[in-house]
């Protein structure tokens, strides 16, 4: 065991971590305070004051404890020989996992504690949570499962994301769970949707290759050095996620839910044509932001899919479009060996 408080260093003889100020839990605690102030303001009618204010110091204490656990786990992973995972994947994701656990835990827990939640809201929660259909979950849960799988996959990866397929493994069961609801959605094959998918693919590659030139990337060395079977399984999981799961999960969330939600509270009964330009633009902007450095291409793609959905009034249209785009991107990556798009 190595403990050097004067250098903020802790660890074992084979792996030590230096606790820099930004790793001390301060950033997470500050973010949690912002989140809780916002949460208490938005849901002020549902909680009792002043006791609800205790959620702030309670949350900070819990987050600081989880940060200590995070550092301990990081050292255990590094000491076990997985230095890459400890310093890269787990290091960057661990803080968010802890933050989300505390923030979501408070959101769930506070409304179930009678001392904090107002009686009317506490009672209302119990019967309706056992019965009825939650339309929001039908549209959002596949996307949340995709995000959660991605977060977990990154947390257990080093330079190369070996467990990319966790996205698929988490999202498929959710899609299966709501399969009856999805089969009830109107669907129709539409050649215009396929054409929009091709146009988005051309735009996506065009922006990367001409307007904001990004260098092409060869297959990651870690994958090249793996056995043929491992390569095949990884590529299959990666392709299935991009082609099958992502179009469903993202279109349900961004077009099916978010775009229509901006048009009205009862989003499910809201026809897509009722969504104004604000709804189209904001849902596309958020869709673009989810695509990291390719956010411009993402926003334009979102606009294409949103306008298509508005025109056809059928969620199967943007799903088909998105499917075609991702299928072509997958073929492009594998045929031209340009892995920058993956």
């Amino acid at each position: 065991m190595v403990v050097q408080p004067e250098h903020s260093r802790i660890g074992t003889t084979t792996f030590t971590a230096v606790i820099a100020p930004e790793c001390s839990g301060i950033e997470g605690a500050a973010l949690l305070v912002v989140f809780l102030i916002l949460w208490l303001f938005l849901f002020r009618k549902e909680v009792r004051f002043p006791q609800a204010l205790l959620l702030i110091p309670g949350g900070i204490a819990l987050l600081l404890f989880l940060n200590a656990v995070r550092i301990a786990v990081l050292i255990i992973i590094g000491n076990a020989g997985w230095r890459d995972i400890a310093t890269q994947g787990f290091h960057s994701q661990g803080g968010w996992i802890a933050f989300n656990t505390v923030a979501f835990g408070i959101s769930v827990g506070a409304r179930r504690i009678p001392w904090v939640a107002k009686r009317s809201f506490h009672e209302q929660l119990v019967p309706s949570s056992r019965t009825g259909r939650n339309a929001v979950s039908i549209y959002l849960l596949p996307f949340l499962a995709l995000l959660f799988g991605g977060m977990l996959a990154k947390a257990v990866s080093g330079k190369f994301e070996w467990f990319y397929g966790l996205r698929l493994l988490f999202t498929l069961p959710v899609l299966w769970l709501f399969r009856r609801d999805y089969l009830r959605l109107p669907r129709k094959w539409d050649w215009a949707a396929a054409a929009v998918g091709i146009a988005v693919f051309v735009m996506w590659v065009g922006i990367d290759r001409s307007i904001f030139p990004a260098p092409a990337a060869a297959q990651p060395l870690e994958l090249t050095n793996a056995s043929g079977a491992v390569q095949a399984v990884w590529i299959l999981m990666r392709a299935l996620t991009a082609i099958v799961v992502v179009p469903f999960a993202e279109e349900l969330a961004f077009r099916g839910y978010l775009m229509r939600r901006f048009a009205g509270e009862d989003f499910e009964s809201m026809p897509p044509r009722a969504a104004g330009w604000f709804a189209v633009l904001v849902s596309s902007a958020f869709f673009g932001l989810m695509h990291g450095s390719r956010w411009i291409a993402g926003i334009i793609a979102g606009l294409f899919y949103a306008i298509l959905y508005r025109r056809t009034g059928n969620l199967s249209s943007p799903i088909v479009s998105h499917f075609v785009t991702n299928l072509l991107l997958t073929i492009y990556v594998l045929v031209f060996n340009d892995w920058s798009f993956w």
Binding site: F35, N67, N100, S107, Q124, S128, N134, L144, L147, M290
Partner: protein, 53 residues
């Protein structure tokens, strides 16, 4: 109110993009922030949708 949560989510996402890369090895990694905040906000929306249904 949900709309406010959604716009807050978008602003938080934009802020994360704006501040991405300011710290090389942060506890709260800005580049992973968009997905994390989307996950949290989406979770809260599902939770609240559950009560209303």
């Amino acid at each position: 109110m949900k709309k406010v949560v959604e716009i807050g989510l978008i602003l938080a996402g934009m802020a994360n993009v704006a501040f991405a890369g300011t710290v090389s090895a942060p506890e709260i990694d800005a580049s992973a922030g968009v997905a994390a905040i989307a996950l949290l906000t989406g979770g809260i929306l599902v939770l609240r949708g559950r009560r209303r249904s």
